[in-house]
């Protein structure tokens, strides 16, 4: 099993949440409980409470429509940040065998950052936000270092390519800037994960992701969602997103 001595590294954040496997659901709930401001200032609780569909009602999570325009792009980002946050919450809850101190700190930091991105986007979207998605990490062996770090690498590189590709879809320069503030942090993550995972010391910006002009990848939403779809049980409808 993945129980290591690292369980004592739990931050106050985690201990407030209890360590159940599905605690990323509760994590969402705890976030709401802590943000009294938001709740007291909002008449429509159903807008901010975690979606009831989270627990797979009738075994089939709801289809999610991202919407149109800048709202659609923010929802697209929100879906990806939900995915990353849920993943790192799982990783920190049950650290893989033989995790080093350095790696544990990185995993905890990445969890924090992705949760901050997720919570911010949810708040920014308000009642336009999509529901909390349901994830399937059954292809990840959370006790295995390589499995976890390879998945992290995939997610971080994908996040970078997603934001890079989505920038041109924004109408609002203010929202473009906010996306820019997030994507560079994803880039920092990608480099760190690659540098702890890969033998090649050039992997942090390896030629598998950076082309001969020194450019990182930029993917359209369709390509990103296809890559993310094995991990997301909800069907995501991105048809209304801006095309260019």
């Amino acid at each position: 099993m993945s129980k290591t001595s690292k369980s004592n590294v739990e931050t106050p954040l985690v201990s407030r949440l209890n360590g159940s496997r599905r605690s990323f659901i509760k994590y969402g709930g705890a976030t709401l409980a802590a943000s009294g401001l938001l709740i007291s200032g909002c008449e429509h609780l159903e807008q901010i409470l975690p979606d009831k569909g989270m627990g797979k009602p009738e075994g089939h999570p709801r289809t999610v429509n991202l919407g149109r325009g800048d709202t659609g792009i923010l929802n697209y980002a929100y879906a990806l940040e939900q995915l990353e946050a849920a993943f790192y919450i799982e990783v920190v809850n049950m650290p893989y065998n033989g995790i080093s101190d350095e790696e544990m700190v990185i995993m905890e930091d990445l969890r924090k950052h992705e949760v901050a991105h997720r919570d911010f986007l949810k708040a920014a979207l308000g009642d336009k936000a999509i529901i909390s998605l349901t994830f399937d990490f059954s292809t990840v062996d959370f006790s295995n270092r390589h499995s976890v770090l390879s998945t992290a690498k995939t997610f971080e590189d994908l996040g970078v390519a997603a934001y890079n590709g989505a920038g041109r879809l924004f109408e609002s320069a203010d929202l473009l800037l906010i996306a820019g503030k997030i994507v560079s942090v994803e880039g920092r993550h990608a480099a760190a994960i690659r540098s702890v995972l890969d033998e090649d010391s050039r992997s942090f910006a390896g030629s598998d992701v950076i082309d001969g002009n020194g450019l990182d990848r930029a993917f359209k939403p369709g390509k990103v969602l296809e890559a993310a779809s094995p991990f997301i049980l909800n069907k995501i409808n991105a048809n209304q997103l801006p095309k260019s």
Partner: protein, 283 residues
């Protein structure tokens, strides 16, 4: 729209972000190419030798033609100004790493050397790419300034590897903030914006790696420049402690705490702020 971030309740903040969204709702789709795709293509073809080592992305070949023209559309001159500003920074980085690698015994063989070599490779290619794209806009790339990486004797980066790494960190973290600050100025041209973002995230990867090589985390905590960084580099980190994004104080909607929030969002610098930092090293 002016937002008073200090006294803003979250609900208001959310409404504000939607006002921002609304303000940008209408964006007429005119077609106003400043130079034709054929012109741009011919210019690129004319630079065959330079461009041969790596194919220029197709989207950039048609950079002017694909302009998402609108009432707010920037002129090719405006766009070239932004790119020339970026070019100045890339010159600085490229020359810095080139000089470092040319200094015998400065950069330890093995891991460090291969990391710095790759970063230099990217910066040199950013220089080449920006020059070509500026050309294709019908503008003239600025020439390389003369650099003094000792900043008038304050630093000794080519005699002291730790100082070399410290300045590398400052340059990369500045580069990230500089590109971020210019993204909005490229919004009328999707291809240029995308290319700039593709450089931006490479700078972020570099920054993370150099920081980690120095024993720091890859991300920026509050507005801290980090251990071992000279006080003169503080301007690179000022303002990174912001926790309010789009009118939302993120500490009120997330449990991660102020430190975590500041790490989660990198902040931009405007052109003047960047040139003040870079100016230390320009003769």
């Amino acid at each position: 729209m002016q937002i008073n971030y200090q006294n803003l309740k979250t609900e208001e903040a959310i409404m504000n972000i939607f006002k921002l969204l609304k303000n940008y709702d209408v964006k007429p789709e005119g077609i106003e190419n400043f130079i034709s795709r054929r012109d741009a293509f011919e210019k690129l073809v004319g630079l065959g030798k330079k461009a041969a080592f790596a194919a220029i992305p197709l989207s950039l070949a048609g950079v002017a033609a694909n302009n998402k023209a609108s009432a707010q559309s920037a002129t090719s001159e405006d766009l070239a100004d932004v790119l020339n500003f970026a070019l100045t920074l890339e010159y600085l980085e490229a020359e810095f790493y080139t000089m470092g690698l040319d200094t015998n015994g400065l950069i330890p063989a093995g891991k460090d050397h291969s990391i710095i070599e790759l970063i230099k490779f990217h910066e040199v290619h950013h220089v080449d790419l920006l020059k070509i794209v500026i050309d294709s806009l019908g503008a003239t790339p600025v020439s390389k300034p003369d650099f003094d990486f000792t900043a008038g004797g304050a630093f000794n980066p080519f005699g002291d590897y730790q100082q070399f790494l410290a300045l590398a960190q400052a340059f990369e973290d500045t580069g990230v903030r500089a590109y971020k600050g210019q993204a909005g100025n490229l919004i009328s041209n999707g291809d240029l914006l995308t290319a700039a973002l593709q450089i931006h995230s490479v700078e972020a990867r570099h920054a993370s790696e150099v920081r980690r090589l120095r024993g720091l985390k890859g991300w920026i905590l509050q507005d801290q420049r980090g251990e071992g960084m000279p006080a003169q580099t503080q301007a690179v980190y000022n303002g990174e402690d912001n926790v309010v994004q789009g009118g939302v104080d993120v500490t009120t909607v997330s449990l991660v705490g102020a430190d975590g929030v500041t790490e989660s969002f990198d902040e931009p610098l405007n052109k003047n702020e960047v040139l003040t930092i870079a100016g230390l090293f320009i003769v």
